[in-house]
Symmetry: D2
Subunit: 203 residues, 4 copies
């Protein structure tokens, strides 16, 4: 079994992106499943394209994209991706689409095919805050989540896919007073627990 | 022109619901459009059914449903309704669906057909906090928003529709320390400004 | 009976200060007590000096200073003033004392002599959010509260005095997303209710 | 050099208190200073008395009391203790004083004699969120902080003392949705860094 896990480069005014740090530090295998880490640019369409190239080459069974959502209190697997790009800030190449669709002929939304409630249960069982989210926003995170869902749908692939948002890391919180944060260590363990829910071998 | 505006009865542990109070107090017409106020039960399916009965009878041009989302900071018109019922608490008749669809054969989501960005702009121009929201949750509010969107779609109606969430009112905030709130007066004016964006006659 | 009520000019990056707007709009009398409104500069020592001049001239029975504390959820009468200036930003004349005392030989703190719990009770009874606060911070608000307390103590005056903090007003909240706010109207009524608790004639 | 560090038992509806867990797990020495851990009951006066007994027996150079303040975002060394008991909930023996003094003839407040800004700087330098606080509340935490300050003052002792508040731990946050938290590991390291600021040997 192969699991492709993607993280983003930093964006906006942030100097780090915990999704990049954590995805880069994943072990080579979890519960017997091979982990393929991939860092993608925080750029419209290029991010999706990069993942699709690796999907074609590696043919993973699962794709989990991970991103940053400053202001959240916990690790939040996402329920649904929507066909909407509406960026409050520019992406890393200066694109700032307003009220645009991601796929002209795509459906309004795709639900995740990952076991997000089981993920939340497992992460919390290890005393790390987590809860399901019902919005991935309308920036590059949702863009990637929708784009990969749409690609899988149109290519009739059997890949399970979804998105997990991380809050600010502790080091980011130093510059965001009165914003919640988790430690990189907690988020690392949380993500590995979430991934382990997608493997066939149970621990 | 006719605009049907719906509000909910109180639910959960709340004794009031600002959507009920405010919808009940709407003027008979706004910008020349006739306002049809309707209070619906916070009950799965019955809420949708009640609105559909009035749609059939009154044939409104616009349907705006209004509900409560405690914890929000401002008046939040919603972007999208999703085909998911997942209730953290029971509705007012004890239903608590978990991970269920609202419409078995419906699409994953419907986007609002209301001018939500214009609404936000108008409300803020009058110094009342407002912003667009990308999730209506998975309780009866989203249920109604999705259900009416689905009804309009399947019946090929030309009705514009959408949903607006209100934060706690000041009186509710007395029992929710450290939760943001708006006054009933501000929310009343905000809702009327939002409605005025849906009338053909501009002010 | 005379009640001196002071408000501040805007400071930091704010263009308005609700304490200024509200104090300026107070009625000439409340419950038979004459209200003396006074706007003071958000400047170290000058603010205290300005109030002391008016105290000497008008000989009020009560002094209530009102200021802004962005981020608060409600109207918050303060319990205690501390002998510490430690400014995170400059005041309106560029002063930014760090870890300094306000009065070299003054005590560490003064408690308010206003009926703050009764104030909170009255404001809430009128459905406006309020709660007592145990810190006025270490900026010009606390500076004025401490300075006037110290002046009254050293001059053996019988004046009751204290401080009330206001949250962001709705118009300020437009530029502070995800910050709580109250309407100017609510804060106006709340302040008048607080003042009415200091008059001898009960309503 | 000897440093007495105290933690509290759980109180209110909480089953754990991170101050207890972390103080119990402190190393025997930090930077050459001997650490004396002490768990005190969350009970008015008994808490102070227990610390005073150990002060008399051990004659520490520094006393750092540590407690819980759910809702905070970071580790917060306290600036000031006030002479006020005003408990929103009962302590662990059912006492709930309202608007009472802690010491009948004590001053309104005592400032900490710990290097709290240096503590915050050191903790943040290790990428753990921290900031100074200007209120320790009016519950047993402030009670102990004031009581020990008063004891040291009246006995003319050369002991440095102060108080550090901890936010919810991650495991507590599981039952407090939308409340910020830090991991026990981060708080453990943060407290040790704070303690190290009080030792004469610099690292």
């Amino acid at each position: 079994m192969k699991i492709l896990v993607t993280g983003f480069t930093p964006f906006g005014e942030e100097k780090t992106n915990p999704s990049q740090d954590i995805v880069s530090a994943l072990p080579k295998s979890i519960n017997g499943a091979r982990i393929i880490p991939l860092i993608i640019p925080t750029v419209r369409f290029k991010s999706i394209q990069r993942i699709c190239e690796v999907i074609e080459k590696e043919k993973p069974d699962v794709v989990i994209s991970v991103g940053q959502a400053g202001g959240r209190f916990s690790i939040t697997p996402e329920l649904v991706a929507i066909n909407r790009d509406d960026y409050a800030i520019s992406d890393n190449e200066g694109n700032q689409p307003i009220d645009e669709t991601i796929s002209l002929d795509g459906p309004a939304a795709y639900f995740t095919t990952l076991p997000i409630k089981e993920m939340v249960k497992q992460i919390r069982a290890h005393h790390i805050p987590a809860e399901c989210s019902t919005t991935a926003g309308t920036f590059v995170c949702n863009h990637v989540f929708y784009g990969i869902s749409d690609y899988i749908y149109h290519h009739h692939l059997q890949i399970k896919n979804g998105f997990i948002h991380l809050p600010f890391s502790s080091v980011q919180a130093l510059h965001h007073p009165h914003q919640p944060s988790l430690s990189i260590d907690e988020m690392q363990r949380g993500l590995e627990l979430a991934i382990s829910c997608c493997t066939r071998v149970k621990d």
